[in-house]
Symmetry: C2
């Protein structure tokens, strides 16, 4: 958020974007806490302003609605999305990805938070589009590991990198969303084993 033109008019900030960025961080942090603890239906802008120690007017003017807040939180999550790990093998790379997803979904704060934003996306098109964007960013970050595996000859030519990355995550999310239990390390390991076997067999090739 640095470089936001409105910040040029804020006196006393150390750098352009400083105050705006701090307000955004505090508000999105509070929103994440409420989503993780109580779910989307308890997200209230007045409550968020109080928790973040930010003026109510600022929160209403900047985010407008709980769905606006969730959409911005998803944008922040996409911006802060971790870079992929490169291990030199497809199995190693997908394992790193699967364990990152599994640890996130099993985390006491992050798991309920993801559950809540996915639920919020069911009720609101703007949130749905922010959520879809978040996953596009994640998939694009990891897709090159599949392209590299094709170049190394580990996978058939024509393998769709995005489909392979999605295949690793799908069973972990499916477990969280349909059974309301967190995916385990064993789930992550099995998902990688299954995805690699399917990809090697050409299941994701055109």
């Amino acid at each position: 958020m640095t470089g936001n033109p409105t910040d040029a008019h804020e006196p006393g900030t150390l750098r352009p974007g400083g105050r705006t960025a701090r307000v955004r961080a505090a508000v999105l942090d509070a929103a994440g806490d409420v989503l993780a603890e109580h779910g989307f239906d308890r997200l209230d802008l007045g409550d968020i302003a109080r928790r973040a120690d930010v003026g109510k007017t600022t929160v209403y003017r900047r985010w407008g609605s709980p769905t606006g807040l969730v959409a911005d939180l998803l944008d922040q999550m996409a911006q802060e999305s971790l870079p992929r790990t490169e291990t030199g093998t497809l199995h190693g790379d997908l394992t790193a990805n699967a364990h990152l997803v599994q640890r996130t979904l099993a985390d006491p704060r992050q798991g309920p938070l993801f559950h809540a934003v996915i639920a919020a996306a069911a009720c609101d098109p703007r949130t749905a589009s922010a959520l879809a964007h978040f996953y596009e960013v994640r998939v694009a970050e990891w897709a090159p590991c599949v392209e590299q595996a094709v170049k190394r000859g580990e996978l058939p030519r024509g393998t769709d990198p995005s489909e392979v990355i999605r295949a690793v995550s799908a069973p972990l999310y499916y477990r969280l969303l349909t059974t309301a239990t967190a995916p385990t390390e064993a789930d992550a390991t099995r998902s990688v084993r299954a995805t690699v076997a399917a990809a090697v067999a050409g299941a994701y090739a055109f």
Copy 2:
């Protein structure tokens, strides 16, 4: 719901359970409509009573809350879950299952309905447990096709039938829930191809 003891006292019913069953069907139908059209956050018992042409008191007494209504809808969905198709091959059986799931999630009423109940489960433990039960019933219905494939020698011994069935559905739900677009026939076909390849390679064996 036939055989519900309270119905023995209802005069004028053709069979025990008749009126109770009809009221339940009308109320759950209306609840399904509202969930599919507007999502869980718009589910209101008074509105449901009006739409179902059933007394408000009956609805409040019997279901108590929107989450109670969703939990009962999920019980009904589990009861009415279609029997599996037997085609004689693992590929054929899993294809029948995948296309059933895909058509359901792509259906203009059923797709949003599933999206809504999964969202509702994120906010309420009772709904979450009814949702988990629904998927247990679905998985148990289809698991025997994997057992038969193991017996026919199509899959390695020790293959976990439930994991194979879940693997077919996972990418279809993942697509619906993270991109808010319905899974396509091509998604179903790819999911079956990937799951069979992974299962044959032993990815779901202990």
